[in-house]
């Protein structure tokens, strides 16, 4: 049987088949929405570009190095040789965008991996425990949420000093509170469900319930929120880069590239505009994907 038939089998014969079948179903649902499909396409393209970046040269696509300056080639407009032109140091625009995609996606990934679990843990603990613990954790969350995100990220990054890792930490610190709120709300609504009572009656420990039963249910809305937030993370990272915090030159971070192209904006528009467009497209892609994910993961649409 074909892969599609196997995935759509009404009676899966193993856990793997069941899980993959659900993923497949979700994928088909996503692709039914044109906007969500567009988001998926954009993100896939971004990911492919980022993954393929180091090998672009060996595939003959380009002979350019993102780091090696070639002042004879500086500030050239887009052409057949340099698809996206060159910057003020003569480095090929397309290659720098490609490598910049890696940095962008690394930042997005690291922030998600740090902020997501922190928010999830705080939220679930608050939602399940209730009472004083809930109040305490939520007040801490409120404190973090009270600061404007960009400002707080700036402050932390400035305090830690420039650099990619510090930028990631700064953004992650400002990103986790919404996930805590989300996880807490989900936990509170799920806490009274019969299936939680049932597994408790089988003797499940609190840890097992929180980890294996409640957390997976929170993960759906968390993932959707994360996807939407990635757009914001990209923008904050670009903002930090623009201001000189975050990834330092010569690293091809998109925000830094926009800053570097500021002076040449009127005559050599592509130096700043192309990275700006990349930021825009990436953010848009994540937003559209988030929309599609919400329709797919929302149990009501089943």
């Amino acid at each position: 049987m074909t892969i599609a038939t196997w995935l759509q089998a009404e009676t899966p014969s193993s856990t793997t088949q069941a899980v993959l079948g659900e993923v497949w179903r979700g994928l088909r649902l996503t692709l039914r929405h044109p906007l969500a499909a567009a988001g998926l396409v954009i993100i896939t393209a971004l990911l492919s570009l980022a993954l393929a970046a180091p090998w672009l040269g060996s595939w003959g696509l380009t002979a350019w190095d993102p780091y090696h300056p070639d002042l004879a080639q500086r500030l050239l407009p887009p052409s057949a040789e340099h698809w996206l032109g060159t910057d003020s140091m003569g480095r090929d625009g397309f290659v720098r965008i490609a490598f910049g995609a890696r940095i962008t996606l690394i930042i997005v990934l690291l922030v998600s991996v740090i902020a997501g679990p922190i928010g999830l843990t705080v939220g679930i603990a608050a939602g399940y425990a209730g009472g004083v613990v809930d109040g305490l954790l939520m007040r801490i969350t409120d404190i973090f949420m009270a600061f404007p995100r960009l400002l707080l990220a700036l402050a932390v990054a400035a305090a830690l000093g420039p650099g990619l890792e510090n930028a990631v930490i700064a953004i992650a610190i400002t990103s986790w509170p919404p996930y805590a709120r989300l996880a807490r709300a989900e936990t509170r609504s799920v806490r009274q469900a019969d299936f939680i009572a049932a597994v408790r009656l089988k003797g499940a420990s609190t840890a097992r319930i929180l980890l294996r039963h409640i957390a997976p249910l929170c993960s759906a809305s968390l993932l959707i929120r994360l996807t939407f937030d990635m757009a914001g993370v990209i923008l904050i990272a670009a903002g930090l880069g623009f201001l000189g915090l975050g990834a330092q030159p010569p690293a091809p971070e998109w925000g830094t590239m926009v800053a570097a192209g500021r002076d040449a904006l009127t005559d050599q528009w592509w130096v700043a505009t192309i990275p700006g467009a990349a930021i825009f497209i990436a953010s848009l892609g994540f937003n559209l994907l988030g929309d599609g994910l919400r329709d797919v993961l929302d149990p009501k649409s089943r």
């Binding site: 014969s13 019969d194 009572a197 597994v199 009656l201 089988k202 003797g203 149990p299």
Partner: protein, 302 residues
Amino acid sequence: MISLRDLTVSFAGVPALRGISFEVARGESYGLVGESGSGKSTILRAITGLAATDGGTMLVDGKPLDRGSRRDIAFLRRVQMVFQDPYGSLHPRHTVDRVLRESLAIQGIDDAEGRIAGILADVGLGPQFRYRYPHQLSGGQRQRVAIARALITDPEVLLLDEPTSALDVSVQAEVLNLLDDLRRARNLTFILVSHNLPVITHMCDRVGVVQNGLLVEELSAAALDRGAGRQAYTQALLAAASGYRRPERAGTQDVARTAAAPSVEVAAEAQLRKLAAPLPEEHGPALSDFLNDALIFGRSLR
């Protein structure tokens, strides 16, 4: 096997159970019948520790149960529960296999493969259901999974909270037959809660009638089936269970009909007057509305 004495439970100051006492022998099927809100489900929740008790004692096989929610693993091995809502009693993200496997793992029972296959066969689900998610199952199939989950750890007592109220009538018949077969085959002790009198009389040996947190009458199921309830409330339940009767419109009086069953209406009205006398405000609009309407319609039947 199970003995309850003067059990009292209240939720936020509102009494739900006001001194319930009854006993269930080993291997017996005991029914609890009453309207919604009468407290019959609360009895089951008190036994399983899902609701904390304020007073009274509960004994299972001679061993007393904790007032609060602590139940040791040995108790959970002997006593299990099937919940009412098939759409809420299974974790939406767990396959059937996962649910059953986890139940065994928590209790430390091995031979998962054999037991899972066996219990699925026992509840009438073939192996093709093993890796399905709840949203791929019908209501009746979900209840069968819930029954399988309860029975896979070989309990001696099964508490059933309206197990078929949310199912179609044809599916209800099949599931109730299944429960009866399983009870005989495994010599289980049942406490079955339902608002549906004929279900109780088909499935149980003895019945307790619950009204407003009190056990107003205890009788054999056969007696209830014959309509031999002594209390007015029991008679009122029997009258309601006999189905809709179109009342006489203004004009002709069916003397024969009113003469045939004066005891039901007289008894019901007497009961209603007794209830209407002290009407505490905190019971809210529901009770007073019901009583007022019952009095109006009761009179119109004459």
